[in-house]
Structure formats: C-alpha cells, structure tokens
C-alpha cells in the first residue's frame, strides 16, 4: 500500500504529523498511514484549549467504529487551537488528514522537540519497516 507523506511535515513514531507554523507553533494531525489503518473516524475528543501539555502524553482520542486511538503530543507546550469543525465532520480525519482533518495546535517553548521528529524521508523508511 502506498501512502501520502508531505515533504514539509515531520512525524512521530506513533503516526502523528507535525507542521511548523513558525514562531515555535505547531499544527498536529494523524498521518495518511494512520487514517487508513484505524478506519472510519466517528468522533474526536480534542484537548482543552489553553491547557499545557507534555510531549508523549495524551489528552486527545480519535474514536473509530472499532477502536479508540490515543493521540500523543509530539512536543510540550500550550494548546493554542483545536479543530472544532471535527465535532460535525469527524470524517475529515479520513478524507483530508493533512488539511481539514488537523486536530490541534501547540505553542512550544523552543524548536528542540520538533527538530528531533522524523523527516518525511525517515518516516517513509519507518513505514516500510512496519509493513
């Protein structure tokens, strides 16, 4: 199976993507690989706006017909935005995982954790090992 892996994004080994929006602010979603493997998304429990979060923790759940998937914060910081449109259109996570299906944004203290995430090329190699 082939997967869409945009060059400009970085990836966590638990299949979250992270986009650098500048100013140490990052947008997070789940990868094409993840959206295909968890199946139809029916509900997303988003983290609380303005809450501070730790990298590796989870306060976000993507619910599918068969499973509940924890979404892990890729960096530490403060939640500055959540994608409220997912309340009415959770299927956006499947249909447009890198666009309308984004989950939340985090403002981090610095760019260190982001830079340690996998590049698109590294993530592609990581997926090949997984298959």
């Amino acid at each position: 199976m082939s997967y869409n892996i945009p060059e400009k994004l970085r990836f966590k080994d638990t299949h979250e993507w992270v986009e650098d929006l500048g100013n140490n602010t990052y947008r997070v979603g789940i990868s094409d690989y993840a959206s295909k493997h968890i199946g139809d998304v029916t509900f997303v429990e988003l983290p609380e706006l303005d809450s501070s979060v730790e990298a590796g923790d989870t306060e976000c759940v993507v619910e599918t017909v068969k499973s509940s998937e924890d979404i892990f914060f890729p960096v530490s910081g403060t939640i500055t935005a959540v994608n409220e449109d997912l309340e009415d259109a959770p299927e956006n996570v499947n249909d447009d995982c890198y666009g309308e299906g984004w989950l939340f944004e985090i403002k981090a203290d610095d760019s260190k954790a982001f830079n340690e995430l996998m590049s698109a090329t590294e993530y592609a190699a990581f997926l090949e090992e997984q298959e």
């Binding site: 199976m1 199946g39 139809d40 029916t42 429990e45 759940v61 619910e63 017909v65 068969k66 509940s68």
Partner: protein, 370 residues
C-alpha cells in the same frame, strides 16, 4: 501469514489489510467500514471468507458422531439443511462454533472458524469412532459471503430466479450452477441479512468474486472487509469465538442457548449443568459517542462482576457504542451497569435484548426477487 486467492484483488481495490486468525485479510476498502456496513443492510455486500475451515465427514456412524460432538438438535435436520452448533470440550468450554450441513445421513460438512481450524481438525480426528471418516477440504475450498436484501437478485441474475425462489433460511443446494461454476449455495450468513454463503473450488474463487461484483454493480454491491463483518454480526446478535464464547468458559447463560439441545447427550453437557448460573452474557448499549475500550471491567453497585467481551460503534443504531458483557450475576434487560476501562474512565451502559438490529435473514426469499 496466510493469504486467500483474492489477496491481490483486495490490494487492487485499495483494501487496508490486517491480520485475523493467522491470515492477511481486508479490514475495509476505499469507501470505508461504515459505507460497507450500510451497503450490506440496504443493498448487498460481498465478503472474502476463504480463511474459514471446512471438513467433510462421511460414514454410517456419522450421525451418532455429531450427536456426541455437537450441542444442537441434529436429529431435526433434514437433507439439504444446515444447523448452527457449539463444539464443546469436557469442561463445557467452546472449542469452536460451527455450522453443520447435512447432505444425507452419511455425508456432512462442518464449517468452522479460521483461527481454530487446525485444533478442530485434531479434535474431529481424535473423536472419530466406528465408521466415521474426517476429511479436511479447507485448503481446496473457497468461500464468499454475499449478504443483503439485493443478494437474491444478484444470484438470480446469474442463475435464474427459479433456482432460489423457494430457498428457506439455513437450507443449501450442494451442486448449484453459478454461471458455469459448481458451488454449494447456502442460505446462511453472519450479518443478520438475507444472503448466501458460497463454497467453491479454491481455483474458481477469483472468477466468482469478479462475476458477483460485476453482476451486483447495478444493485449497489460493495466489497466488504472484516470490519463491517464484525459490526454487522454484533448488531445481529451473533457471538465471535475467542470473545463471547471461549474454550476456557462454560457456555451457560448466553443469548445463544438456542444452539444447545439438553435432550441429547454430548461432550461437555455435564459440565454445563454443573456451571449453570456461573455466567451470564448480555448485549449492552452505552451512552455517548465513545467506546469504553478493550479489557473494560463491568461494575454493578461498586462491585466488579465481569468483563466487556466485544465492542463496536453500532452503525445501524446511530453509531451508539454497543457490545457484549459476560458477568457473574443475572441482570434483567434494561439494567444500568458501569464499564470501567484500563485508564480508569467510567461509562454508563445498559443491558439490551438481542438482536440489537433485526435484519432480513429469515424473510421469505420471494419478496426479495420481485
């Protein structure tokens, strides 16, 4: 891992592949599990079920053999009829659940689950006595399930309306001509909807798959993966081996008591009588939009009384979380209980009657052919 003859066809259709019982199987295709589920309830779904196992048993003592090995009332089954059964161990646990097909008093087919078939074969051989011969035809047998209210029209399109219009629930036609291919056409299934399980020569599987998708296109057929199979069967009130029914739990107090005939002697019967009242199984429907999750405990008045054995979002019930629990207390329908998941989060759920969704499986064939 094993692959069915349709593996390449699934990949071409954009299937997401997952592991089930040692097989690489399609979980869903491009349209997704919800669309596949709805297509089966409203139109038709086609499922690759080649991973399941089939055995032929012949011989003069085979009727006695099945009476000893299986729980249901085999004596009421006529030639050309099938019957759902449990095959128990001495402790009353379920080695497997299976469908027994009677060709005649001396020839039968047993259809079993994928992950359990090797153990089943050993058990069947070990229990054989007198004139009983067990043959494993699984490796040379393909199996496709065509399910949904348009399924009869699709078969009629290929084989003619008169070939099936009199066919009743749990009956089969052994030498059915399906577009030039010899198959066993069985009016059975795992979805709660009217439909067929089709057994064929393994080498004909791909051709029949293509033919049914082609002829079914105008009726809105969708290829369906194991994801939709699971949501459909759970709504239809059917158990999944390894979850609701298991080798290490005596099968007492379940909604599937209809498969156990207490008027004949079978392996495990004494253990069932001794275990009566130890366990009770119920369907449950949960509040909200989130499932409790695997390994959740069942709590009643602060006391842990059992576990959640399966859980899905019930697509045909406005995507409410639904599942089955196995508990140590008898609970009336409508009892509110609590599911406590591994993260310590609690969900309110209520026991419900099965099936959760009443499908078309038992309706007269003729009404689907007009």
């Amino acid at each position: 891992m094993k692959k069915t003859p349709l593996y390449e066809a699934h990949v071409k259709l954009g299937a997401t592949i997952g592991e089930f019982g040692g097989w690489e199987m399609p979980l869903w295709y491009k349209t997704g599990q919800i669309a596949e589920h709805n297509s089966t309830r409203e139109h038709a779904g086609l499922f690759d079920i080649c991973h399941m196992g089939e055995f032929i048993v012949t011989g003069k003592d085979s009727f006695e053999y099945w009476n000893r090995l299986l729980t249901n009332k085999i004596s009421r089954v006529e030639d050309g009829q099938a019957i759902y059964n449990f095959m128990l161990n001495e402790a009353g646990g379920v080695i497997d659940d299976c469908i027994l097909y009677r060709y005649n008093a001396e020839k039968w087919m047993l259809v079993v689950n994928a992950g359990t078939q090797d153990g089943d074969y050993e058990w069947l051989k070990q229990q054989a006595f007198g004139d009983v011969k067990v043959e494993n035809i699984g490796p040379e047998t393909g199996k496709l399930d065509l399910q949904g209210p348009s399924a009869p029209k699709i078969i009629a399109e290929v084989a003619g309306k008169e070939s099936i219009e009199e066919m009743k629930f749990f009956r089969f036609i052994p030498d059915f001509d399906l577009g030039g291919k010899k198959v066993i056409l069985s009016r059975t299934g795992y979805t709660g909807e009217v439909g067929f399980e089709i057994y064929c020569d393994i080498d004909d599987t791909a051709e029949i798959w293509e033919m049914l998708l082609d002829k079914g296109a105008k009726y809105g057929i969708e290829p369906c993966g194991l994801g939709a199979r699971d949501t459909l069967r759970l709504e239809a009130g059917l158990p999944l081996h390894g979850h609701e029914i298991r080798p290490d739990i005596p099968v007492v107090g379940t909604p599937w008591e209809f498969a156990i005939d207490r008027d004949h002697d079978f392996i495990g019967k004494d253990a069932l009588e001794e275990s009566e009242g130890d366990y009770f199984s119920y369907a449950v429907i949960t509040e909200g939009r989130r499932k409790a999750g695997d390994h959740s405990k069942v709590i009643l008045n602060g006391e842990e009384i059992g576990i959640l054995t399966s859980e899905i979002l019930a697509v045909s019930l406005e995507k409410k979380p639904a599942g089955y629990v196995r508990v140590e207390k008898e609970l009336p329908e409508g009892t509110e209980i609590e599911l406590l998941n591994e993260k310590g989060r609690s969900f309110k759920t209520v026991t419900a009657a099965t099936p959760l969704v009443k499908g078309t499986s038992r309706k007269k064939m003729a009404i689907f052919l007009d």
